[in-house]
């Protein structure tokens, strides 16, 4: 779900997650921790992180998978939510959370209705009403204040757009176009039922509302840009204190106004969640491996490459002493290099870049089989029905392309292009591993006569730079995962001008039309086929060069469970985690 290291604020988070991912990759194996002990209430769970702060805490602005999972599991209830399960199919199905059921679609999928559950309250005891959900949703429209979050509300709700492509509704702060929003999102007289009127049929709108961007926000407590400093909880925990930076902590304590009877989704086992910011990655690994004292109930998000040999027997199996607390799983992300088609308009040149790239070396550098499998598109096999092999490396480019690249074929393609061998620049967020990957890009493209210049960008500034058309170059390092298990959160986002992650600057009228058609296709099987074809089409047009279906390794302390990578967000299943009582 969502961007890998995406988000404009994502300094350390992205760097570290990307680094850890890049170094890793692995197999399967999920199990309960603590020797199969029964989950019990109480205790403190520790979340150790190298990041000095959360990317975002404001519900409408959160957009990294791990953060969505964490805050959704602890403080923000959403109308619907993903099931907790290690099984991909199950974990990508939704259950009712704040709503009484998973929603009712009428009007051919253009109108969606949810009824809010009785007993759901905010941390001050006031009930969560339709108005709060509507207000929360409206905040997304204030794009000058609420930055960084997903913008599905803007693209899906039935509110006209202005000439410059922005919505006619400017959010609750200016109030411009408020009546348009109030028409699109309506509440029943008792304040229990919320109705979303959409501009087009969205068969999976009830998946979209799992995002905290659709979570309720009480209007009276909204402080605009600074809402994330003191957000109002609707979940089983509330923020007691939050101090960013090295040595800082976020403490979540029980929200005594939360009524378990109103929430059968969250288990709320621990009494306290403590997030420890700014720890050295090596310290985190070491502490979890040792797992003494408080660290026995601690978790973290990645592993340094040097620890892989200590913890794992192979990319799919942990050593006996770590069995049950180390995972190595496919994550939701696809790694790729976006080719800026505005700057590289010639298809043959783009093909030459894809053909010349040494994907084998890139994968080895990222950790070999710990890092995942070769990708053939932007839709991953664990997406279920939307995935089908694109044949990118078998036939799409006219020949079978070896994993290590085919410089001779690339040279031929350049010769056919009618252009001179290009000079391109490769943008990437700087880290030691990424520097080596850049060296591989430079070297392998160089063998085909393409001059590639590396352009390392400070990780914290990365997306700010590459989303600026004036600063972005020809080849851009990226990764993306779906926001929910429908490629409607991949293909349109990556390959259409209205998408939020179109690093390739791709704008193909025919393609756009096909995307619009697929978006509103009510038959899921047919829709899946359409996404598969669009994925293949984009690969054929070499809009991106997919490199890897990522895998990731993580460990936890000895007394925490359940231990599995929750496929919904490629994260820990925060909402049902517990400390094993000794």
């Amino acid at each position: 779900m969502n961007k890998t290291s995406k988000g404009l604020r994502l300094a350390a988070v992205g760097a570290v997650v990307a680094l850890a991912l890049a170094a890793c990759g692995g197999g399967s194996g999920s199990s309960d921790a603590g020797g199969g002990a029964e989950p019990t209430k109480g205790g403190t769970l520790y979340y150790l992180t190298n990041a000095e702060q959360f990317d975002q805490i404001d519900p409408q602005r959160i957009y990294t998978g791990e953060d969505l999972a964490f805050f959704n599991g602890t403080i923000y209830r959403t109308l619907t939510a993903y099931k907790f399960s290690p099984d991909a199919a199950e974990a990508t199905s939704i259950v009712a959370d704040l709503a009484t059921d998973t929603g009712t679609a009428t009007n051919g999928g253009k109108t969606w209705e949810f009824t809010i559950r009785d007993g759901a309250t905010f941390q001050d005891g006031s009930p969560v009403t339709c108005a709060d959900v509507a207000y929360g949703t409206s905040r997304t429209f204030a794009t000058d204040v609420i930055t960084g979050g997903p913008t599905y509300a803007i693209s899906m709700l039935d509110i006209p757009t202005l000439e410059d492509g922005s919505s006619a509704y400017k959010g609750p702060y200016t109030g411009e176009g408020q009546e348009l929003f109030d028409k699109a999102v309506t509440c029943s007289a008792d304040g229990k039922t919320i109705t979303f009127n959409l501009s087009r049929p969205v068969p999976d709108f009830n998946y979209a509302v799992t995002l905290t961007a659709f979570a309720p926000v009480p209007k009276a407590s909204d402080t605009g840009e600074k809402y994330g400093d003191a957000p109002v909880s609707s979940g089983p925990y509330k923020i007691e204190s939050n101090k960013n930076g090295k040595g800082g902590k976020m403490i979540l304590v029980r929200n005594d106004k939360w009524d378990p009877a109103s929430d059968d989704y969250r288990k709320a086992y621990p009494d306290i969640w403590e997030v420890d910011y700014g720890l050295d990655v090596k310290v985190i690994d070491q502490r979890l491996i040792t797992s003494s004292g408080n660290d026995a109930t601690a978790l973290a998000l990645g592993l340094e490459p040097e620890q892989l040999g200590v913890i794992y027997k192979s990319a799919t199996e942990a050593n006996p002493e770590f069995a049950g607390r180390a995972i190595s799983e496919l994550d939701p992300y696809v790694r790729y290099l976006a080719i800026n088609v505005q700057k590289v308009p010639n298809l043959k040149i783009r093909q030459a870049i894809a053909v010349a790239l040494d994907r084998d070396a890139l994968r080895k550098n990222a950790g070999g089989d710990f890092a995942g499998d070769y990708a053939d598109g932007v839709i991953k096999p664990n997406m279920g029905v939307d995935y089908a092999p694109t044949g990118m490396w078998d036939s799409l480019l006219g020949a079978k392309i070896p994993d290590a690249g085919d410089p001779e074929l690339a040279k031929k393609l350049i010769a056919e292009s009618g252009e001179a061998a290009p000079t391109i620049t490769f943008d990437y967020p700087q880290s030691p591993t990424a520097d080596k990957a850049a060296a591989i890009v430079v070297d392998s493209l160089g063998k085909a006569g393409i001059t590639a210049k590396p352009n390392p960008i400070e990780p914290g500034q990365y997306y700010g730079v590459v989303f600026d058309p004036e600063q972005a170059h020809e080849l851009i390092n990226a990764g993306w995962g779906p926001d929910w298990p429908n490629a409607s959160t991949i293909i349109p986002e990556l390959f259409t001008p209205t998408g939020g992650f179109n690093l390739s600057q791709y704008d193909n009228a025919e393609f756009n039309a096909a995307v619009e058609a697929a978006k509103i296709e009510p038959d899921r099987a047919k829709q899946a086929k359409m996404w598969q074809d669009l994925n293949t089409l984009a690969m054929k047009d070499v809009v991106v060069v997919p490199t890897r279906f990522g895998r990731e390794q993580r460990i936890v302390g000895k007394q925490i469970g359940p231990v599995y990578l929750w496929p919904a967000y490629g994260s820990w299943p925060y909402g049902e985690m517990y400390a094993v009582q000794q």
């Binding site: 404009l8 604020r9 300094a11 350390a12 000095e52 702060q53 794009t143 000058d144 204040v145 930055t147 960084g148 913008t151 803007i154 410059d164 922005s166 702060y173 200016t174 605009g224 840009e225 600074k226 994330g228 400093d229 960013n244 930076g245 090295k246 040595g247 700014g278 720890l279 050295d280 090596k282 310290v283 070491q286 502490r287 400070e458 990780p459 914290g460 500034q461 997306y463 700010g464 730079v465 989303f467 600026d468 939020g500 992650f501």
Partner: protein
Amino acid sequence: MVILLLLLTLVVFILFSLLPADPARLTCGKGCTPAVLEANRHKLGLDLPVIQQYWEFMKGLFVGRIYAADSPDPVVCNAPCLGYSFKRGEEVLVLIKDRLPATIWLALGAFILWLAAGISVGVYAALRRGRWQDKTVMGISLAGYSLPSFFLGLMAIFFIVIRLQLLPYPSYVSPFENPIQFFQTMLLPWIVLAILYAAFYMRLTRNQMLEVLGEDYIRTARAKGLPERIVIRKHALRAGLTPIVTAAGLDLAGLLGGAIITESIFSLPGLGSLAVNSVNDADLPVIVGITLVTATFIIVANLIVDLLYAVIDPRVRLVS
């Protein structure tokens, strides 16, 4: 001195207004339109000419300032306002105050270690001039200041923490919270920094002592039959102290600005690591703030050192 400080703020301001990453764009998000960008720029005060930005900044220092005063959502930064980091949503002064303790502990601990080691070993070497002890000391000192700090730091972690496991991985806590972990964390960075600096102080002390010991008044003192201990301490060391005090004051001030490398190797939450992170994030207000604070330390230390001169060495008259 005040002029120097003023000049400093101006230079820092001009230097950093050249930075490429547009802070307005960085806070803008992906749905960024030119209008939003302009609004952001206005909020950050970046739409003003550099000189006026500077004026706003100086005003902030003395009377505080309000960012985006005309928006529904202004940010108040009270005097002395060193700026406001929109990236971190915090006043720069608060950020710096948060990070200062770790830096001060690091600097003070290392300072005490290196002065004690540097001066005592230096005196010892001077008294054994030309003998093997002296040569050994000078050899060690050479090695000490030839070792790049990051190599020394990484070696310390490798041997002490990873191989011998004498200490846990450094992980900073406040000494008031957990004194044991504090010392376990600080020990290596203290020693690493102290080795680098002590090497230099050994040489400095030794050379000073050699020079002073050759003076007539020392010979006189010895001829008077004063015990050697007293000759060394009361007469020689005191006279030779002036350049040591100068160097020590300036070095300490420099360290208070954050030992960037040592802090990042041992992952200490000090000013140095804040500085590196801010560079990474293009968090301009924080970079400007740290630069100013650090430079102020050095300039003030210069002044204090000058004053101390007069106390230590009555021959020096203060001329201003």
